[in-house]
Amino acid sequence: MADFGASDLDAFRTEVREWLAANYPPELRDGGAPTDPEAIWGGRRFEGSDDPQIVWMRRVAERGWTAPSWPKEYGGAGLSREQARIIEKELAAGGYRVPLASFGVWMLGPVLLEYASEEQKREHLPKIVRGEIRWCQGYSEPGAGSDLASLQTRCEDAGEHWKINGQKVWTSYADKADWCFCLVRTDTSKKHEGISFVLIDMSSPGVETRPIRLISGESPFCETFFNDVLVPKNNLVGRVNGGWDIAKRLLQYERQNISGGFGAGGGAGGVAGDLAQVAKDYVGTDEEGRLEDADLRARITRNKMDVHALQLTMARIAAEQKASNGPSAVTSIVKYAAASFAQERSELMVEAMGSQGLGWSGEGFSPDELRATRGWLRSKGNSIEGGTSEVNLNVIAKRVLGLPDPK
């Protein structure tokens, strides 16, 4: 990577800004024509599509800017972290749609870069950058939630192939994904040391997905079944029984990704909007302009302050990491705090709306009200998915605070 100075970065910023302005499809401007909301995830389904969102993704990908810091030989742009951040900021500042949302870019790519063979990198990374293949994550199983390493999906040697049998659960968008990065058991006599990391084409015979309906009515997750699924031998990443290290590293990327989304006090399921303003609209104010319900006002204020303190903490972590070029221990608190504040915010949102925040569908409720109800329900998953809050607290206690296990 080139070593850029401040003035070089300014020049780069100008270049990015101009390129984005020149290449953004006019159909997408100012809210633009409705396009398939799934399109930003890319994948085989969109091959040959002229959906302007897909056009936009291809243009950005062509420059490698969907994964700007990945090496050029794998389709990235080979840029520095500062440059990558400039692209991110310019995209947000200019109000451009996200070119590509991708578990491949966020989670799989980084571990492939670290653990995969040269052949595997050349095969998979460019397709990720170009949004040609949409990936899903085959981790959790019905009996293996917080205790991920107790997973039971079997992977047996079948000569030319691996043969895979078992069931995954909580596979995000498995019904829409093209490939799956999957943890499987290659040795039943050991726990952590019997796990391998394999890549599975979801169009293989024997793969079946079944969407799970959540309490919020949505189905972003699936159950995924593998029945005698044959996978080419070279789709195993790293060494046989060496998958747990890759799994853990990938989880780090996942957590960063989940935590990153919480900055605005939202989190999956949270609805946008100023909680204080919603409360004023639904509850009313006194002659001094304060919320009429003083009890609710105090609790909303607490939540606003919680979220504010968390935002300051995330800014502090970024500054510390930049200064030290290393991870900050404080990162460990983000997921836990973000989940609990986002959940409380959602609770307060429906409480403020009163009976209007309890609708499910049909007349009598505005779209925002229905979104608030469902968002509140969806937010209950924030403290479960990607590591439960209980596991987060265990990790803080043991790894950060150094408290011992019981003898």
């Binding site: 959790s140 205790d147 509850v283 009976s355 309890l358 499910w360 209950k380 998915e385």
Partner: protein, 374 residues
């Protein structure tokens, strides 16, 4: 659990076995799928009527058993366990309005039918998203035959099914004033009365109801203003608190069972001390809530002077407890608790809807303080 009389124990046991057999949680799922709009199963309601549940708080002279509010609370607690749907609470609250504020003629006309379950009653009080009995604006104006009602009510529990609505209206003064409120008996089929069914997250039956110049006779008015309304509401609140206590108890027990069976990291998760302490704290909350709920119901039976205070205490604690337990039910079940297939979501949705109905925790904390001059 309060010390019960023999007839109370029998009533409770009968309710328990009927509810468990005839109206398990699956019954609510079925209703939800049907989307019939009433929010309950009319056949089940007929059975409840036959068992005399609709008459538990109605005087013997008018066809009820007069067992009282604590007794009815026992039934509702059992129904709460399985989230059993019925207009029993709303009907009993309407009966209370008649018993407390009706003339002999009014009572004779309506109470026997309410007691048998042939007539379904409901309270129409609130007009906005929050419970605010003081803010009633719906207008009642003198007419040639009696009164003309104009305005709209929101979130009327069992408002779609109700044959008889007890409507709080303003005969004078401005919203926010304590005087000028009167309760009216309005038949469900009155001309100018329009209902809009609400599809709520917890699948309970409710409606928004508009009154476009609804005419009622002179004798449709009940005697007593905001005070009467408050007494009627307190009975609805206490019953709802009993139901919530039952729901929360079941949610807790289901969770406790899961803690004893789910294995992670080679251990039953109920052996982890952090979860044990959280479970123990839920138990503490449940027992405190039970004491408050039973005391409130008993105070209504005794017409005790501090009944209002005890009702606000009961509704608050039942609300806090159900809030906590329903959240923990999802969290302690982990992913499975997030699925629609599991019951956790049903309890969670019911919790918030029941919290909001007839005043949430913040409303009742404030009311409790005001009643104590604080």
């Amino acid at each position: 659990m309060a010390v019960l009389s023999e007839e109370q124990s029998m009533l409770r046991d009968a309710a328990k076995s009927w509810v468990q057999e005839q109206s398990p949680v699956g019954a609510l799922r079925k209703l939800r799928g049907d989307g019939a709009g009433l929010g309950f199963d009319p056949a089940a309601w007929r059975e409840m009527g036959q068992m005399g549940w609709a008459g538990v708080v109605i005087p013997e002279a008018h066809g009820g058993s007069e067992f009282g509010w604590l007794s009815l609370g026992l039934v509702l607690e059992e129904m709460g366990r399985t989230l059993a749907a019925s207009p029993l609470l709303a009907t009993s609250a309407a009966a209370a309005a008649l018993t407390l504020g009706g003339t002999d003629d009014q009572k004779a006309e309506w109470l026997p039918k309410l007691a048998g379950g042939e007539v379904i009653g409901a309270l129409a009080v609130d007009e906005g998203p929050h419970h605010a009995p003081g803010k009633i604006a719906l207008k009642a104006e003198r007419s040639a035959v009696g009164w003309t009602l104009t305005g709209a009510k929101t979130f009327v529990l069992d408002g779609m099914a109700a044959d008889l609505l007890v409507v709080a209206a303003r005969t004078s003064g401005q919203p926010g004033e304590a005087s000028g409120i009167t309760l009216f008996l309005v038949p469900g089929d009155a001309a100018g009365l329009k209902r809009q069914a609400l599809k709520l997250a917890d699948s309970r039956g409710a409606a928004n109801i508009s009154f476009e110049g609804v005419e009622v006779r002179q004798d449709a008015a009940l005697a007593g203003g905001l005070d009467l309304l408050d007494q009627v509401l307190d009975r609805a609140r206490a019953l709802l608190a009993a139901e919530m206590l039952g729901s929360a108890s079941q949610a807790f027990e289901t969770t406790l069972d899961y803690l004893k069976t789910r294995v992670q990291f080679g251990q039953v998760i109920g052996s982890f001390q952090a979860l044990q302490h959280r479970a123990a704290k839920m138990y503490v909350e449940l027992e405190l809530a039970r004491s408050a709920v039973e005391a409130a119901l008993a105070a209504l039976d005794a017409q005790a002077p501090n009944a209002a205070e005890l009702v606000s205490l009961a509704k608050t604690r039942a609300g806090e407890t159900f809030h906590l337990v329903s959240n923990e039910m999802v969290q302690m079940h982990g992913g499975i608790g997030m699925t629609d297939e599991h019951d956790a979501g049903l309890y969670l949705k019911r919790a918030r809807a029941a919290e909001a109905a007839f005043g949430g925790q913040a409303f009742h904390r404030d009311r409790y303080a005001r009643l104590q001059g604080f």
